[in-house]
Symmetry: C5
Subunit: 161 residues, 5 copies
Amino acid sequence: MRRIGIVDTTFSRVNMGSIAIDELKSTGTGYIIERSTVPGVKDLPVACKKMMEEKDCDIVMALGMPGPKDIDKVCAHEASTGLIAVQIKTNKHIIEVFVHMDEAKDEKELAWLTERRVREHAVNTYDLLFRPERLVKQAGTGQRQGFEDTGAVDGGNTGGH
Amino acid sequence: MRRIGIVDTTFSRVNMGSIAIDELKSTGTGYIIERSTVPGVKDLPVACKKMMEEKDCDIVMALGMPGPKDIDKVCAHEASTGLIAVQIKTNKHIIEVFVHMDEAKDEKELAWLTERRVREHAVNTYDLLFRPERLVKQAGTGQRQGFEDTGAVDGGNTGGH
Amino acid sequence: MRRIGIVDTTFSRVNMGSIAIDELKSTGTGYIIERSTVPGVKDLPVACKKMMEEKDCDIVMALGMPGPKDIDKVCAHEASTGLIAVQIKTNKHIIEVFVHMDEAKDEKELAWLTERRVREHAVNTYDLLFRPERLVKQAGTGQRQGFEDTGAVDGGNTGGH
Amino acid sequence: MRRIGIVDTTFSRVNMGSIAIDELKSTGTGYIIERSTVPGVKDLPVACKKMMEEKDCDIVMALGMPGPKDIDKVCAHEASTGLIAVQIKTNKHIIEVFVHMDEAKDEKELAWLTERRVREHAVNTYDLLFRPERLVKQAGTGQRQGFEDTGAVDGGNTGGH
Amino acid sequence: MRRIGIVDTTFSRVNMGSIAIDELKSTGTGYIIERSTVPGVKDLPVACKKMMEEKDCDIVMALGMPGPKDIDKVCAHEASTGLIAVQIKTNKHIIEVFVHMDEAKDEKELAWLTERRVREHAVNTYDLLFRPERLVKQAGTGQRQGFEDTGAVDGGNTGGH
């Protein structure tokens, strides 16, 4: 039995953790979920590290919704830097799912975008843990989470593998 | 008995450490407080680490008031990066409470905003240590510390948990 | 037998991993290739570290295609910082091959540029592992990967080695 | 007997190390001074770490004068990030005293500002090592080093400690 | 016998490594030189660490010539951050010698500036290793590498050492 950690924030305006758990359940089995919630994105790195080391998780989803101001962008950058540091220290993946509030034109789109991005990254999380070969098959295909995929610019005619 | 560290600065124009201690005392019991003060926000990371490792604190509040200039923003960013690094090294939370001087329109609002933000984060600190399930219940509800909460954009109708 | 890791992304619009493998095969022998694919560039650092420590790779190519927006530039910076951290921790080189989408004027040029840059850096990867003296001979010669080399400004008349 | 490290640069236009030593001597006793000088601010982090680990210093002053250009600001940021990293690794304070050349309107003010800032931070250094309770008493009082203090915005009427 | 590492890049348009070696030879004896070359500045940190740990170098010169574009500035920043991290991990100095292509007005000045800066930093490297007291004597004298020194603003009349 593997363990997937889900960490989200009270700052977010959408319950990202619950969406992630819902999508994981639709995607497959073989894992137990551990969940925690922290105030904001800058609290995510240590919370994810605790998931790895105190809850024995094999992978963690770090879910956050940075605000639209310059200072919020800086906070998101600090959080992302910390999340990468945790991964390097633990040799385990953290799938960062951040939705910046100014990516959406209104609250309705924000809710829609957040749900789509969380769901698509929940599948990536499952794939990294249980079926990594699915990701290799999608290499270079312009996948996006939330908005539409962009596709490949030159489909497969250059490689030799 | 748990230990909560409180570290603030002489640079700040409000006695943030005393407000934090006052709010913690109103919130609950079961902990001892350790306090120290450093010159500025860039001195906070090591002071928090010493709280963890030399004073045996379980969690620390890092309280600071960065100035309004570009160089102050850079200092705050360096401090935040360091605070995240300390958390990752110790597997313990540091609740960063920074009030940027240019968030408030005058000195009166600055005092008001600082007190509110410190008090709300003191409760977050208590919750992380003693009742983390309270934070999970607030996931995705748009909590803010200081100014008004923004609320959820799509209250609870998407999740499955 | 040495091991070369190839890690690319599903976000990229060109199958960079397959091009890298194709070029390595034309360049020389004496190595085994390990390949994995992750969602985006921020997932590359830990994936490269796992290549080093779990797949016993001696060197890794980290292949990614950051998008054109400000947030994409920040992601690329975070990824690069993490890739350098992994190298420092492992004492092994990671050749970062990033093609920023706004480096090319259209999709055709993007495909062309990506293929050239990946191929030229595949040779650098091979050289670092098997024939580092080739790189010393190119010191200060203005090598570029993808677009044209710029050349030396003052060819060889100042040194004493 | 405690040890205080003093590290400054040849890039600075004021002999900051000598001012720091002079002020420390006026402030108190009970310590030995170790001094070294490096080319620029980016050389300070490792020099401070060597002071800690090879000269057994308990605290270090890192003295520098970054230039006025954009690239100088980036260098100062890199240096500060490194100084925080050293503190976190050693659990010892480094008091960073940087005077940016463009903080002063002319050479005369630059010399005046540098001397004041170095002297005030020398006292902070002494306080952190020998009388930390003095800093707690100054918490939230708007202390500045060099230019005038700004003072508290709401003197003492909110705290409960 | 001490060991000095010299690492430069194929991206640079001047053979910086050969100039450094030439200047070191004119400056003094008592050391062996180890040299390697990497593609670009982001490859320097691990190459310098390998010099320290695999070639037993006591100090390393990291020589690079970042390009003039925004992305090149970011690469230089990432490289510098990594070089500082390596120094902190090894307790040994790395003298970073970067010449930004846009510091010079034409190719002729670029060659001149590069040669001067490399030579002056080669002497700093030698001094740090063999005669650090020379640097202390230059503290606060406004030394520059390449362009003219700026000098002290207030020559020696404030210090007490």
